[in-house]
Symmetry: C2
Subunit: 366 residues, 2 copies
């Protein structure tokens, strides 16, 4: 497995680099030193990740000439809150982090979103380096520039668009990754491959067993392909609304399921995989999806260990969650449908048809 570096473009003309390799933690500070003028860094991590990797990252930034401060938040989605943002802003003030300073997110998606939002809003925006330590964060939240906090009314309702100056995916950090987190990453990779189609889909179908078996060469290949896909989508549409909508494939259902089941009961990855299955079946009536594609996608998800869920939740509750999400965001009840690998569309779907399919799903027949 050799090191890779991907260059990501964003619509305003600037670019940033994503490094893919093992052992990057020990060099990320030096790499950052050439990108920012200041020499103050605040490193943000969580209680799961910090014991394993915080010291190495702090050491790397110190070697890069930085005066380093760090903050460790509790692990888990509940940390993506206003109270932690406030605490991190205070930490920025304490260490005198100026406009030329840098905030480093060392952790999964929660840390990435939280630290990314703090960087985007401290002094109206300072540099952010993302060091994702979960497979999902590597392929998803660490790029695209979406940062966010959760509030009582819902997840990700408060946030900012802000691109990182550098992303360092160190595959060594996956050694300590729990089982459910692997599934989260696999689902995101599967979603990307279905939307992208072509070579990526075929490659993943051929390498699903290797990925599931955590062959690191395959893992890196999957991450790189996912990033190239996502980078292209984001470059075309930095702010959501256009082609970027494709990234929500499986998510209308997944968000409702996660909310109905209670946060943490069903992992995001399992929920997205289930949402992809649901969208495909709904699409057979709503968008001309073929039974053959439903089966093809199911086989890919199965091969990645993302089996269909055994338990179901009440259809009316899921529908109410979808309707709430729709209201909270002022949008329509929209779904992304893939009709074949690489061919997708978004459609507003009749509420009654969605209800029927939720009932079929609850009964285990749809």
């Amino acid at each position: 497995m050799r090191a890779q570096c991907l260059e990501m473009s964003i619509p305003n003309g600037s670019t940033y680099r994503i490094y893919l390799s093992r052992g990057l933690l020990d060099g990320v500070g030096e790499k950052t030193a050439s990108l920012v003028a200041g020499r103050k860094a605040l490193i943000v991590s969580d209680a799961n990740v910090a014991p394993h990797y915080l010291e190495r990252v702090c050491g790397s930034f110190a070697r890069g000439g930085f005066e380093v401060a760090h903050e460790v938040v509790a692990a888990g989605e509940a940390s993506k809150c206003l109270e932690n943002a406030s605490r991190l802003w205070d930490a920025c003030a304490r260490c005198g982090l100026g406009r030329d300073g840098v905030v480093v997110a060392l952790g999964g998606g929660v840390v990435g979103d939280l630290a990314g939002f703090v960087a985007a809003t401290w002094l109206r925006g300072v540099a952010c380096v993302q060091v994702p330590t979960t497979l999902l964060a590597m392929v998803d939240s660490s790029i695209g520039g979406k940062t966010a906090l959760d509030i009582d009314a819902g997840k990700n309702l408060v946030g900012a668009f802000a691109q990182p100056v550098l992303v360092a995916c160190d595959f060594e950090t996956l050694a300590t990754l729990p089982e459910a987190e692997w599934a989260n990453g696999f689902a995101e990779i599967a979603k990307s491959a279905v939307i992208e189609g072509g070579g990526f889909y075929e490659w993943l179908a051929a390498h699903a067993e290797g990925l599931r078996g955590r062959d690191y060469t395959v893992v890196q290949g999957a991450v790189a392909r996912s990033l190239v896909f996502k980078g292209r989508v984001v470059a075309a549409d930095e702010r959501e609304g256009g082609v970027r909508e494709c990234l929500n494939y499986g998510h209308t259902f997944a968000h409702a399921l996660e909310a109905a089941a209670g946060l943490g009961t069903v992992s995001h990855g399992r929920a997205v995989a289930e949402g992809m299955r649901f969208a495909a079946r709904l699409g057979t009536e709503a968008a001309g999806v073929t039974e053959s594609f439903v089966a093809q996608q199911a086989a890919l998800l199965d091969a990645l260990g993302l089996r269909a869920l055994d338990a179901a939740w009440p259809a009316d509750e899921l529908f109410a969650r979808m309707a709430f999400d729709k209201k909270a965001r002022g949008g329509m009840l929209r779904f992304v449908f893939a009709t074949a690998p690489g061919i997708w569309q978004t459609m507003t779907v009749d509420a009654d048809l969605v209800k029927i399919h939720l009932i079929l799903w609850e009964q285990g027949v749809g």
Copy 2:
């Protein structure tokens, strides 16, 4: 006095309009209707402004087809806090304000900054309409795209850059403006004229008495000239760091004075005017400012009723505040100097020289 409309450009290529007139409150909703796709509006105001104008603005948005919600915060700088931002985000959620919705800031700079930040971060950014009701907000905070909150560590430390979609300056709202607020606006206008120089400076020197006497034709002229000046600066440098630094003329001293005196003891306008006088005197040693310019600027400020302060605060305390500001922002002890109307530069100044001038100022001899 006839209505005016200024078109402001921002670096990303988009533009927005600033309307200057009397009676705009009754039409701002209809004007907004053509700019945003959604029909939900959250109108934010404060307890001083709301009793006078909130109903008219709500009515205008209702006539524009909007479903209108409103929130009223306490008047004063203390309202620019995280707690109020949180309350407003909750209000956005309650009224189902989607990506196509709009947040309206009806009030002075505090409401503009607070509501502007909430708009910039709700769903990662929704449209914001600024309806400034103070002279200072009209010429300053309502344009430029700087939004912010205060935290314990300092003012404006948390924020975002986000341009409004529309600014409506209704001069009728100035009828209820307190004396100190007029001074705030005059100081900002004087600062702009000194930095811009040329026609603006000469016009203001000739019309200072009319402005001080609140001749509305002169007020509109001063606002329009200030906006054209500021719009050009912002267009050249949306994010602070380059030419936009000129807008900080008088502010290094003013921030320290306001902090040392205790918020609200010396108005921002008086502090900025005093800061311009201080910068000019410091500049005679640091930047080649002539005694003739010191006197010329003093005469302009006097004509606007912005007399030199009678009371002084301890030099060492002011210096400590400047040093703290420097530390919190990670920058240098920098001053903007004007050597003549229209000619300015920023310079890093030797700390001892600043101290000496603060002592002279404290003793009333410098």
